[in-house]
Subunit: 196 residues, 2 copies
C-alpha cells in the first residue's frame, strides 16, 4: 500500500506505528502540507477531506482519517481484540481523541511547531483544553497500564500520536507520572526511541 | 439500558435515532448541561469525559462518545454492514464528523442555540469551517444517496445529527440541494418529522 503523510504529523505517525508493529509493508509518500500538497486536485481525488494521512491500497481503493485507517489495518490482530465491548471502549477513546484531544493538543502544537509562533501566542482555550485532556489521560492511567484491556491496542496508538509530541506544543508532561510511564511503555512495545 | 443525554444535542440524537430505528428499548435521562449536570461526581464516575451521551447497560457497564455508542448498538444490523472495507469507510466519515464537522457546525450552533448569542457573534473560523464541512457533504452526495453503500448506515446517522440542526446555528442549507435531499431521505428511513 501507499501511505501519503507528513512525518511530523501525529495523525500520520499513528499509521506508521500500526503498520510497523504489524509488519505491514508500505511505500511512504512525504507531503509538504505548508506548501498545499494535501490540497491539490490529485490529492483531493484520493480524499475529499484534503488531509493526511491517506492510504491507497494496491487495488486502488483509498481510505482517509487516521482512526479509520488504523482500525482497518489492525483488524484480526491483538491491537483490536475481538470482544465487541472492548472494541467499543477502544472506539470511545479514539473518538474522544479526535474530538477533544487532537483539536487542542495538536492545534496548539501546530501554532508553535509549524507556524513557528512563540509558546505565549498559543490559543488560550486550546491550551486549557489540551492540559485538561492530558490530565484526564494521566488520571485514567493511574489504575491501568493501557487504555483498554491488558495490552497495547489502537486506542493507545491513537492517543500516543500527539501526546508523545505534546512538548513540541509547549505542554509539560513531567508532572504527570502515570502518563509519562505509559508513553515509555508504548515506546517499548512499539520499539520507538524514547523522546523524553 | 439507560441513556443520559440532552434532547437538543446532536450527539445525543444520534443514539436516539439508532436505538429507535433498531427497536432497542431504553430509559432516557435528560440532563441540564448548562446547569453542570454532566460534571457532577456521580456523572464523572460513569464517564471521565464529562460529556453526553453516556449509556449504562443493564450489567452496569458504561460507554461514552456517540460514535462508539452507535457503532456498538448497530453491530449485526444493516446500519453497520459486515464488509470490513465498508466499515472502514463508515469510520472515515464518523471520525471526520467528530474532528471537523462537529467542532465547527455544533460549535457555532452552541453559541446561538445554547448561549443565545446573535448569529453575527459566531466565531468566524467555526463558521468558515462549518460551511466548508456542509459543502463537502453536499459535493459527496451529488453522486450517491447515502454516504456508504446503497442504504442508511451509522455514517449517515452520525452526520445527520448536527447537519439537521445546522440552521439553528445560522447555517443555510437551502442552496445545497443534494444535502437537503439526503436529509429528507434519512428522515424518511428513520421516521422523523421533516425539520425544514
Amino acid at each position: 500500500m501507499d501511505v501519503f503523510g507528513d512525518r511530523n504529523s501525529g495523525n500520520c505517525l499513528k499509521v506508521r506505528y500500526t503498520a510497523d508493529h504489524l509488519g505491514l509493508p508500505y511505500r511512504w509518500h512525504e507531503l509538504d502540507l505548508m506548501a498545499g500538497e494535501s490540497r491539490t486536485d490529485a490529492f483531493l481525488a484520493m480524499s475529499p477531506f484534503g488531509q493526511v494521512p491517506v492510504v491507497r491500497f494496491d487495488d486502488g481503493r483509498t481510505l482517509a482519517q487516521s482512526g479509520a485507517i488504523i482500525r482497518y489495518l489492525a483488524r484480526g490482530s491483538a491491537l483490536l481484540p475481538e470482544d465487541a465491548f472492548a472494541q467499543a471502549e477502544i472506539d470511545q477513546w479514539m473518538f474522544w481523541e479526535q474530538n477533544f484531544h487532537e483539536p487542542n493538543v495538536a492545534g496548539a502544537r501546530f501554532q508553535v511547531f509549524y507556524r513557528k509562533e512563540p509558546v505565549e501566542a498559543r490559543d488560550p482555550l486550546k491550551v486549557e483544553r489540551g492540559e485538561a485532556a492530558l490530565d484526564l489521560m494521566n488520571e485514567a492511567l493511574n489504575t491501568r497500564d493501557f487504555f483498554v484491556g491488558d495490552g497495547l491496542t489502537i486506542a493507545d496508538i491513537a492517543l500516543l500520536g500527539y501526546t508523545r509530541l505534546a512538548p513540541q506544543g509547549g505542554f509539560e508532561l513531567d508532572g504527570r507520572r502515570a502518563l509519562t510511564r505509559w508513553i515509555a511503555r508504548c515506546e517499548d512495545v512499539l520499539g520507538l526511541p524514547a523522546l523524553h
